[in-house]
Symmetry: C2
Subunit: 161 residues, 2 copies
């Protein structure tokens, strides 16, 4: 699979991940470790909850989204997360759901302090197999520039910051 660098991206580029199947077992495993609230790992509590059944922790959905994003974009030297904004979970994730992530590149700029890196701003939207949105977020990440592009400026960045 093609490895990507900062310089390969343009504002407006869109990417679609492969689907990822979420099982009840992994929902419970994740919740027991990282979101130990009964309605996320106990079948009876889940039934009595506002969701009327087992649902994944929002942080599990976020983690799965990261996996799909990383695999789809496949940055040559990785993407270092700087921050996330407007992380929302408009619908729950349930056992058997198959999630896909759509990524859109919103902004690109070279790093001010690290000439070998560029900063990307992106939007990730995670949907289930019925097309319902289960998560949206904006994120900034630092990714490597191509060696031959480190003296150049990309064409699609804001020059004001």
């Amino acid at each position: 699979m093609k490895e990507r660098y900062f310089d390969d991206l343009k504002v407006g580029n869109r990417f679609q991940s492969e689907p990822f199947k979420v099982t009840g077992k992994t929902i419970i495993e994740f919740a027991e470790k990282y979101d130990p609230q009964k309605f996320h790992f106990n079948a009876k509590s889940a039934e009595r909850s506002i969701f009327k059944g087992l649902t994944a922790s929002g942080w599990h959905t976020a983690a799965i989204t990261m996996r799909l994003f990383v695999k789809t974009l496949n940055f040559a030297e990785g993407a270092i997360g700087l921050g996330v904004d407007k992380l929302r979970w408009p619908n729950p994730v349930r056992p058997g759901d198959a999630l896909r992530v759509r990524t859109e590149i919103i902004r690109l700029r070279p790093s001010r302090s690290k000439p070998n890196y560029g900063i990307i701003r992106l939007r990730n939207e995670t949907k289930n197999q019925r097309g319902e949105i289960v998560q949206t977020m904006m994120a900034s990440a630092m990714v490597s520039r191509r060696a031959d592009a480190r003296d150049h400026k990309p064409t699609d960045h804001k020059t004001t910051d």
Copy 2:
């Protein structure tokens, strides 16, 4: 441990979690599942990375923060995450770090659509054993009201929304 309801909280309340030790093994396990970038699970890639050593995925730090928050606040019927803003990772988490979360209640209001619930706005700050901030975030969550408080309004909420 005391179980909490929406009505037990006041704006300005602060809570401090127990420490949570992060191991290299769990950093690698989490990364292989949810953030499969070499510098998060391969020792050599980690050494060559900008961090010069193994570091946890930001989503792992977020998941550990959720665990500590949930255990500390101990909501009687759980906290349902509505959204997160300004999630930042100013310093990396490394093997052996012991993380603690400090929670501050920023705002409280009854749910408009669900009279049995209230909405809390909070700030979580996660620090390592040296007092370095490894994560900050703002979050909104829905939590149950006490049965005898469902007809009342809490004293510390904004009445305009």
